[in-house]
Amino acid sequence: MIRNIEHITKSLIDERMPQWFNTLRIQGLSRFIETGIPAVSDPNWKYTDLEALKKLAFDVSENGELNEWELLNQFRNHKDINIVLLNGAFSVKHSDLDNLEKGVLVSTLHEAVKNNAPHIQERLTKYPMTDTAAFIALNQALNGPGVYILVDEKVVSNRLIHIIHVTHPGRQNFASMPRTLIVMEPFSEAAIFESHVAFGDSRTYFSNALTDIFMNENATLHYCKSQKESLKAFHIGHTRVWQERDSSFDGFSFMAGGRLTRNNVDAVLNGEGANARLNAFYSVNNSQHVDNHTSIEHRVPNCASNQLYKGILNDSARAVFNGRILVRPEAQKTNSYQLNKNLLLGSGCRVDTKPQLEIFADDVKCTHGATIGQLDEDEMFYLQTRGIGKNAASRMLAEGFLSDLLNTVKNAAVREKLNSLTRRSFEAS
């Protein structure tokens, strides 16, 4: 899959980087080579076949220069702090680093490692490597310079930070490894939006993204990951959230594009009173495949988690949902909610959904549900009798299907961006 992967080892070692970081890369690479690309016999990949990804060969180094930077403007909004990465490399020229708010630190992740930012080693080695995380290992081995954001203690950042990952390789198939680390210090608050975008649908590439978020005591983060890649692209992404006491993570994922998309969001509730919201909307057409996996681990008492995953499928698109809630024996008074709703509009679409509740504490309130269905016939008829044509009526109902989900997004800037993105996805379908 990655061209010449066995011979890459040498180039991973960078003399200027600390020893531990080089070791981490080499460990990641050997782990990936060892586990390889998961097959459908792996229960975590039962409904997502990576055979097509496996067959293609991707380069990891990219020398292509982008000449049409003005194309970027479609993604940028002057109200936001825009941070632009092209093919995994940080573009200082196109990022708004000059007018950052006080107490908000933004740099490349590799720079932060080089400068030995506080706790950086601890954070990058927080999660033990497991057999089931081949793509995390791959990112760990080959990640580009990446982004590091730290919001200082008690700092409330008012402007939306928009990280734009643009993948636009030359003619060669290309593998991009975006890496993001976000640290929210105690009592801080911020809104961060990560977009994965492409210019058009002509390029074949593989984006393997890894974002780690650390939420310290009482921190609040409004976060969204949005993804609309080239229709020839593969996207596999992991977002891991670590939450300490009373922290609040308000997260959203919007999946609209790519040939094959897999999005994992994992949250560990490690401090009492923490709460996590992982909501998502996926909208796919043609023969697109989107697979959403979530995992929420309740380790301590009095935490809440909420998941609402909604998807609209057109044509022969395919969606997978797998949501795991684990409530450890100590995690009494847990409140956990999960719902996956699918609207099937195409005649060839297919959904596989698999919620999993694993409960080891007795004083808990956990509910989950899944629905798969079509537009309601009575609702359609009602709208028609008011003069609204079939297409307009079905779009109206589809937007209605989505609206309560968007209303759960608390931060106005995040919600606004999501509104315009989802509206575009309706126009496209």
């Binding site: 409960i359 989950h368 269905g373």
Partner: protein
């Protein structure tokens, strides 16, 4: 009374209850009886010997041997969410028959009085005088059926209700046509084992247009030590017929684990309906998890005809481990599959149970209602699969899986899988996990109930959607069983 006070009150009651060990398993006795036993171990000779002892035709023996050879190529599945000590398949005796039953008795009067007494003690009177009205019973003791009541009455209607070993002799064409047609011998590890060594079980054939006026039932009793029971049941309902079938099971209290690996196949033709109910109360081991039955069961129904219906109702309250997913293959257009389940685990029991609904025909419908109750240090899992095939236009499924936790050392897990391959399908799944709510208990206690009475009221409320599917006598029995099991666990 403040919440703290209520909790304190409950804690006090918990400590009190902890000193009780729950009522003893009243079916734990052993019947002393001389048996015809094949020594422990499994090989082709043993399979042939079982076939020979049952005087089977060669096609049956060949089928068993084919199954045995296939079984040898298979691995014991370890995906269920529990651990258990390894099963030594060569330490099990695969055939145990009370000696006096060889050469099957013609009437109940000829059955060994010791066996009649045993079934009497289990609450299943077999003799003409005492037998239950309205229920025909086939009593299976270890590897053989010892007697079947009401046979002649049923025969008048053309209903065949007899031990499967008898059906192989008397109705070979029917058996040959349908045995393995829903659960092929290679279906899974335990089905293959069962196909090789199955001993007894019931055969029911309901002819066209007949609604069985009696409930048909089989009572399974494991008695012999170091033995396994390999029940095989086959029910065929022809066009426009109806039958309600009940199954009950118990075993003696023993320190070692015993294996029960059953296969049940149901076939419903056009407009036919089969209602299959189980109250499973195998010995489940003691408080520390010692002993108990390993219950590995493959149950599946096939709605072959249009408008047919198969309904599974189960109360799983026993066995050390239960691995069981009664399912329906909804092949006929407009056919209906139902699954109603209460699974209760206490002590250190583990249950991994649920259902599979495979929608193939148009307008097929399925309903799944599952209630799991776990207490003490037990582990209770719902595992379900709803699969809508591309041909199943306008298929519908509704599933509801609720779990209740009693005490804080147990666990409850839910693993539903939904696969939809036709966009006209409507599938809804809901699940919840909760504990017996302190406010609910207090409300009832303040109306004069004691805590245990309050809890049993709540449990019965929790399970009522399932109990109402059981035949009356069974429902009463099931409620008593749950109350007995939960005694000492609640607080």
């Amino acid at each position: 009374m403040s919440r703290n006070k209520i909790e304190k009150l409950q804690n006090e009651q918990t400590t009190e209850n902890n000193t009780l060990s729950g009522r003893d398993y009243k079916y734990g006795f052993v019947t002393e009886i001389e048996t015809d036993r094949i020594p422990e171990g499994l090989n082709e000779d043993v399979v042939s010997l079982i076939s020979e002892k049952k005087n089977e035709p060669s096609w049956m023996r060949d089928w068993r041997l084919k199954a045995y050879r296939h079984w040898q190529t298979m691995k014991e599945p370890h995906w269920p969410n529990f651990q258990y000590s390894p099963i030594d398949y060569n330490a099990i005796s695969y055939y145990n028959a009370p000696k006096k039953t060889t050469g099957k008795p013609k009437t109940m009067d000829e059955v060994d009085p010791e066996l009649i007494k045993t079934f009497d003690r289990l609450g299943i009177p077999l003799t003409e005088k005492k037998r239950l009205a309205g229920v025909a019973v086939d009593a299976v003791f270890d590897s053989v059926s010892v007697g079947t009541t009401h046979q002649s009455e049923l025969a008048k209607l053309g209903i065949i209700f007899c031990p499967i070993s008898e059906a192989i002799q008397k109705h070979p064409k029917l058996v040959q046509k349908y045995l393995g047609s829903v659960v092929p011998y290679g279906d899974n590890f335990f089905a293959a084992l069962n196909s090789a060594v199955f001993s007894d079980g019931s055969f029911c054939y309901i002819p066209k247009g007949v609604h069985s006026p009696l409930e048909l039932s089989t009572y399974f009793r494991i008695n012999a030590a170091a033995s396994g029971q390999f029940e095989r049941t086959l029910i065929i309902a022809e066009d426009d017929s109806y039958v309600s079938y009940l199954e009950g099971c118990t075993a003696p209290t023993r320190d070692e684990n015993q294996l029960h690996a059953a296969v049940v196949e149901l076939i419903a033709m056009n407009d036919a309906e089969i209602k299959y109910s189980t109250v499973q109360n195998w010995y489940s081991g003691d408080r520390e998890g010692k002993g108990g039955i390993y219950n590995f069961v493959t149950k599946r129904g096939k709605c072959e005809g249009v408008n047919s219906k198969i309904s599974w109702t189960q109360v799983e309250a026993g066995a050390a481990i239960t691995w069981k997913y009664p399912g329906c293959i909804l092949k006929g257009d407009n056919s209906v599959g139902e699954f109603y389940s209460v699974a209760l685990t206490n002590h250190r029991m583990a249950a991994d149970t649920g259902t599979r609904m495979i929608h193939i025909g148009k307008n097929t419908r399925s309903t799944i209602i599952s209630k799991g109750i776990s207490s003490d240090e037990s582990n209770n899992n719902y595992r379900g699969m709803v699969k809508i095939m591309p041909s199943a236009f306008r298929a519908r499924n509704y599933s509801q899986c609720d779990s209740m936790l009693v005490g804080n050392k147990c666990s409850a897990n839910t693993f539903p899988t939904i696969e939809v391959n036709n966009n006209s399908a409507t599938v809804e799944h809901e699940a919840s996990t909760s504990r017996i709510n302190a406010d609910q208990i207090f409300y009832l206690v303040s109306r004069g109930l004691d805590t245990e009475g309050a809890v049993s009221l709540i449990i019965n409320g929790f399970c009522k959607d399932v109990f109402k599917e059981l035949p009356m006598e069974f429902a009463v029995e099931a409620v008593k069983l749950l109350e007995m099991k939960l005694e000492g666990s609640v607080g």
